[in-house]
Amino acid sequence: MHELSITQSLLDIALRHAEQANAQRIARLNLLIGELSSVMDESVQFYWDIVSQDTIAQGSELHFERVPGSLRCLGCGHVFPLNGRDYACPMCACKQVIAAGGDEFRLESIEIE
């Protein structure tokens, strides 16, 4: 459900940048979304089609680039994907690890006409 407020924020940001660039139309938005950010592509797309109506972003395409969640082992420095079972390092079995990536949630660029 929180994708509605997220999508509204996304529209505000995109329209602001489009206006600054004197755009007639927004054709595409390039988003970077980490696995740990708990945002569903389908849900954002669903709300996008509704909130962008009657704006210069109407009909634009959302492109989601996904960043997988990853962990870094504090023992040996190895970076490995989040596997969802335990957080042990596959190289040295060490359990002292920290999150290394996957919480991105950004609008990287827009493509305008």
Binding site: H2, S38, K95, I98, A99, S109
Partner: protein, 220 residues
Amino acid sequence: MTIRVPVVEQILSANDQLAAANRKQLDAAGIFAINIMASPGAGKTSLITRTIEALKEELRIGAVDGDIATTLDADRIAALGVPAVQINTGGTCHLDAPMLQSALPQLPLTELDLLIIENVGNLVCPASFKLGAHRSVLIASVPEGDDKPYKYPVMYRGVDALVLNKIDVLEAFDFDVDYFRQGVEPLNPGLAFFPLSCKTGQGLEQWLAWLRNELEKHTL
């Protein structure tokens, strides 16, 4: 012919800015605010009422209560004689900074030391929306199971303290506290951890001591 315009902006920046404004307003009034998050039924309102009962003689406390519907929780809190505002989110799964902003004027801000914000019961969304509180607290509870940090890692990452409620039923649920904590450690190393039971009162003193201490550190 399309032109690519670089943006590189956090999508929740508008909410973050309002959260910063809330923080400013709280600071100006000399209030220390905590944001309590948990899944439904973990014991948010129970911990809050326990906390208010224990601290209301030494601190002036107010509460903001977020729920999808009803004023049941705010009523429970108001029954303790502290000002409480209910926010009904009307279906939204979390509190956000604008909702808190609209609730603040309904409280006697200059007469409060501690504001306790009870977020909507949910283990996913509240983590993404800053409110402007000074500390975030997550309540896990024994019946939810010891695997929750592995399944809902985001919630465990941004919080300042973790309460494990309902430890009076640890045995009945085969809850492995070590396995639970091993799941939390990589997400949030050294996180303050308070196993307790709102029902029996066991462990509450440590939680209250942490809260007093954080408030004191903040006020200094």
